[in-house]
């Protein structure tokens, strides 16, 4: 009897370590500099003294990533940890056996170390499902040669844009994909608008209508190009024909080497009482796969990769904007104008909804925006979109 107790005690002491020592497979979709930085972080984790785990990475092409996760993970064939944006999170949670809830592991120190909005993006129906790694959102990108002081308010922006526009020469003060709902959301959220309220679609709320009317005023003022596709905006900016652009850090890689640019937060909306434009954030989260055999070890890695040390490498070498808020106190990160500009932006931004119903919003919203851009009544267009989204969501939920 006594022997058993001793054995049990020994096992109890050893078990936390025992449970941690594991081989962990991580799937990511990084290439180039991001991949190199991520692998450096993984190598540092593997070499960490006292760490019994071994992490191996697998780069999966981005196009196939989400489908692979959907197909492989619930059947137990996937990785232990994977990295993806929050837009698919709700769908994976609803489908089940894909993402592991991690509330159990979290304490206030972990909860508090991220930019709040990015942490919110990892929350679905009251539970936390992953830790945020980095975020992307749009901000104001200006051509330094044309714009000395980036506008702080929309009133300044309009005046400046009008001054810099010469339609006959194909020159525009401002260019952004205002026909794309993702970009329009910055104005809409700035006016206090939203897509879902308590999980139910509310496309035609008065704030959304107001934002749409405001967009119409901008279009009427004529300082933006028609049908602004992303390729068009890139070429206009690179030819010095667009002075200001609203875009995310993905745009920076496409800027021609001869263009001197600056990034600053989007202006505050004078017409909305000085409230800031609030773009949507896309947050890449690190998730523990539900069927993983080594969840404790997997979470240990998730915690590490979203901590300050790793975030610094990912920021400075991978050129990501880390979700970890503490890293911005680092002198090197703080000195980086782009990183700090996006950080300023994300502090007022809102996470893009991670509900699976969001996919049903895009198409009707684009249609409504199209009608609004052509000068249609925003109220009617948004009401129509609301009707369509509500019907689609109801149809989806009916099968549940």
């Amino acid at each position: 009897m006594r022997k058993h107790q001793v054995l049990a005690l020994v096992l109890a002491v050893l078990s936390p370590l025992e449970a941690l020592a594991a081989d962990i497979v991580v799937w990511h979709a990084y290439r180039g500099g991001e991949k190199a930085a991520f692998e450096k972080v993984v190598a540092a984790y593997n070499a960490k003294p006292g760490n019994p785990n071994k992490v191996t990475t697998l780069a999966v092409p981005y196009d196939a990533f989400a489908d692979k996760i959907t197909a492989a993970v619930p059947r137990g064939k996937g990785p232990d940890v994977f990295i993806y944006a929050q837009d698919r999170l709700g769908g994976w949670i609803e489908a089940g056996n894909t993402v592991e809830p991690i509330d159990f592991y979290l304490d206030d120190a972990i909860r508090g170390r991220y930019v709040p909005a990015t942490f919110e993006a990892m929350t679905y129906r009251g539970s936390v499902w992953g830790l945020p790694l980095n975020y992307k959102c749009i901000a104001l990108i200006t051509n330094k040669k044309l714009v000395k002081d980036p506008p702080k308010t929309t009133a300044e922006l309009e005046a400046l844009a009008k001054k810099l526009t010469a339609r006959d020469a194909g020159k525009f003060g401002l260019a952004y994909s205002y026909g794309d709902y993702y970009y329009h959301a910055a104005l809409q959220n700035g006016f206090g608008g939203r897509v879902f309220d308590q999980g139910k679609p509310v496309m035609d709320n008065p704030e959304n209508v107001k934002a749409a009317q405001y967009l119409q005023a901008w279009i009427k003022a004529g300082f933006m190009p028609a049908e602004p596709s992303s390729a068009l905006i890139t070429s206009l900016f690179n030819e010095g024909k667009a002075a200001m652009v609203f875009s995310g850090n993905w745009f920076l890689g496409e800027i021609a080497s001869g263009i001197d640019y600056a990034v600053s937060p989007l202006p505050v909306i004078s017409e909305a009482g000085g409230k800031p434009m609030r773009p949507w954030i896309t947050v890449e989260g690190v998730y523990v796969a539900a069927p993983s055999k080594a969840k404790d070890a997997a979470f240990d890695f998730v915690k590490y990769v979203t901590d300050v040390e790793a975030a610094k490498v990912m920021a400075l070498e991978g050129r990501q904007s880390p979700a970890n808020a503490k890293v911005y106190a680092d002198p090197k990160v703080a000195a980086d104008p782009i990183l700090s500009a996006y950080k300023k932006q994300v502090d007022v931004a809102v996470p893009m909804p991670n509900l699976p119903e969001m996919t049903m919003v895009w198409s009707p919203a684009t249609t409504a925006l199209g009608a609004i851009i052509r000068g249609g009544d925003p109220k009617v267009a948004l009401a129509k979109a609301q009707e369509k989204v509500a019907a689609d969501v109801a149809n989806l939920r009916k099968g549940k």
Binding site: P101, F104, G126, A226, T367, R397, K400
Partner: protein, 582 residues
């Protein structure tokens, strides 16, 4: 099997033996299925009763814990009181979410330094996650006004493992978890009865082996019926004779009868001998058959199966029987005739999402595209076929180029050319003083952009086909026609067109199918703009599946497309047969 052969006693014996084997095989199938059904029903009924009792115990505990305030000593007392009324081996736990606490437990392991209240240990994460899940269900029911059962019941290793939320002031603060042993299900009933029903007819048939064919055949059928009916009556009495019992048992009987007839009438023997005779051929085709089965037929039939369910992203893991909704998807696709609706200002407007609008658009899209492809292709072929044309190989290569380029690249280029401000099409219009058009804002102009793109992509194929056929027309036909005084037009309609027909008809048929399902062009050029007006059936099905996650509905939509093309295929087969004579 001619008449004299049946008098051959040896053959006669073979036939009777077949009846005997068929009787045995048929009975095995029918009784096996009936028995499996009986077993399933019996254990399901048992499990249902046991589950009800267990859930009663769970909800009772949850109520008492809520009454005791959800946490604190009151909860521990309530749990102890509840435990007294439970069968041995029952374990109850109360978990509080905030701080991941085990508030109370009657698990014998939770004693000594593991006694509640304490923080949940590392290996108890599933307990915590379960409580979190309960909270999620309550939140969802509240937000979506749904009525999902707010509890979780799992039967594992002969025990019910259950959980229910604990509320305090409207919010879920934790959960109760109960593990309660379920009495082992009773042994499956009816094994001796099934064996008896199987053995008796087979034994009784033995003396009949010397009888004539007809007598033996009738006897086999009668014995089969007696065996199945006997077991059926027994099974029905056992489960209480519900309507679904009769249904399930008669289905098993019919299947068994089919097997009996298949064996008895020589089908099985013929099948076997065909397999043996052509074994080399079957061996060669086996890999292809397996490949087709796995890669084509399985997904195809699975898709059709899905189309009868309400599968969406929310219930992909649910068994198909649970989400079965019969013909509902088809009814809602085909039964919605509201092609037009009243717009806000009272005028009539088209509903672009409607199936029939999309079908009409798809047909118009197909007909116009094929017409353009054939006419442009034919004209260019005629031009290229001109005798003594200089630099003909160069023209030919240039004209085939659109076909050689990957079509999504072409599609994206054309989309760019129709840009309102920077597109070359509007630029050309402005050179002539016309106003620029927003091509994708109106259904008709949007349709034109897709039509232009696809026309550009489809004429080279028709041109190549026509050119080949043109060169095979003997020149002396034209010579004779000229001698007879036929005009150029008469030559074209009486010689060229009829000679092209055997080559053109199959090409047109093919191109109809391609264009009908031309996903890339619509998806990339118009993207259904404006408002889904220029969506064709296949892109619409894609949207249902991958933007709205309604897998069952999308599968039904695809099946409808398949049926349309199937009908077309049957129709085209007749037309091709008509042209074969030329």
């Amino acid at each position: 099997m001619t008449a004299p052969a049946s008098q051959d006693p040896r053959l006669q014996a073979v036939h009777v033996a077949r009846f005997h084997a068929g009787l045995a095989a048929g009975l095995v199938i029918a009784l096996g299925l009936s028995w499996a059904w009986l077993r399933g029903t019996a254990s399901a009924g048992y499990e249902g009763r046991a589950r009800k009792e267990a859930v009663g115990a769970l909800t009772g505990l949850a109520g008492e814990v809520e009454q005791a305030g959800g946490e604190g000593d009151g909860v521990r007392a309530a749990l102890q009181a509840w435990q007294a009324g439970q069968p041995a081996g029952t374990v109850g736990r109360v978990v509080v979410l905030s701080g991941a606490r085990l508030e109370a437990s009657t698990d014998p392991k939770d004693a000594g330094d593991r006694a509640a209240p304490r923080r949940l240990a590392h290996d108890e994460k599933p307990v915590f996650d379960r409580a979190q899940r309960m909270r999620g269900i309550v939140i969802e029911n509240r937000d979506q006004e749904e009525k999902k059962p707010e509890l979780e019941v799992v039967l594992e290793d002969g025990r019910f493992s259950m959980a229910a939320p604990v509320r305090k002031g409207g919010e879920v603060i934790g959960a109760v978890e109960v593990v309660r042993p379920a009495a082992p299900p009773p042994a499956a009933p009816g094994v001796p009865a099934a064996l008896l029903a199987l053995a008796l007819p087979v034994v009784v048939f033995l003396p009949l082996r010397r009888a004539g064919r007809i007598v033996a055949g009738l006897a086999a059928l009668a014995l089969f019926a007696a065996g199945v009916a006997g077991f059926g009556a027994y099974a029905q009495r056992l489960v209480g004779g519900a309507a679904d019992a009769i249904q399930a048992l008669s289905a098993a009987g019919v299947l068994g009868l089919g097997v009996l007839l298949f064996v008895a009438l020589g089908g099985a023997a013929r099948f076997r001998s065909a397999l043996v005779r052509n074994r080399v051929a079957y061996a060669y085709t086996l890999p292809a058959m397996v490949g087709m089965l796995v890669l084509v037929f399985f997904p195809f039939f699975y898709g059709i199966l899905i189309s009868f369910t309400g599968q969406t992203i929310y219930n992909t893991s649910a068994p198909l029987t649970e989400i079965w909704n019969g013909l509902h998807n088809y009814a809602s696709i085909l039964g919605d005739f509201s092609i037009v609706h009243r717009a806000e200002d009272g005028s009539l407007a088209l509903s672009y999402g409607n199936f029939y609008w999309t079908l009409i658009f798809t047909v118009v899209w197909t007909v116009t595209n094929v017409a353009i492809g054939v006419s442009v292709g034919l004209v260019l072929a005629l031009v290229l076929n001109t005798k003594g044309l200089a630099l003909r190989p160069i023209y030919r290569v240039l004209l085939i180029l659109p076909w050689a380029m990957p079509n999504y690249i072409t599609a994206l280029i054309w989309r760019g050319m129709f840009h309102r401000q920077f597109g070359v099409v509007n630029y050309a219009r402005m050179l002539f003083g016309a106003e620029p058009i927003s091509w994708f804002d109106q259904p008709f102009t949007s349709f034109l952009t897709a039509l232009a793109t696809n026309g550009w992509l489809s004429f080279p194929f028709m041109m190549v086909v026509s050119l080949g056929a043109l060169q095979s027309i003997p020149a002396d036909l034209y010579e004779a026609a000229r001698v007879d005084g036929a005009s150029r037009w008469q030559q074209f309609t009486s010689i060229t067109l009829p000679s092209l027909k055997p080559a053109l008809v199959p090409a047109v048929i093919l191109s109809v199918v391609w264009t009908f399902n031309m996903f890339n062009i619509i998806y990339l050029v118009t993207a259904g703009e404006p408002g889904g007006a220029t969506e064709i059936l296949i892109t619409q099905a894609y949207k249902y599946a991958f933007q709205q996650y309604r897998y069952g509905y999308a599968a039904a939509y695809s099946t409808v497309i398949f049926i349309i093309l199937l009908v077309y295929g049957v129709f085209q087969n007749r037309v091709t047969r008509a042209t074969e004579g030329i």
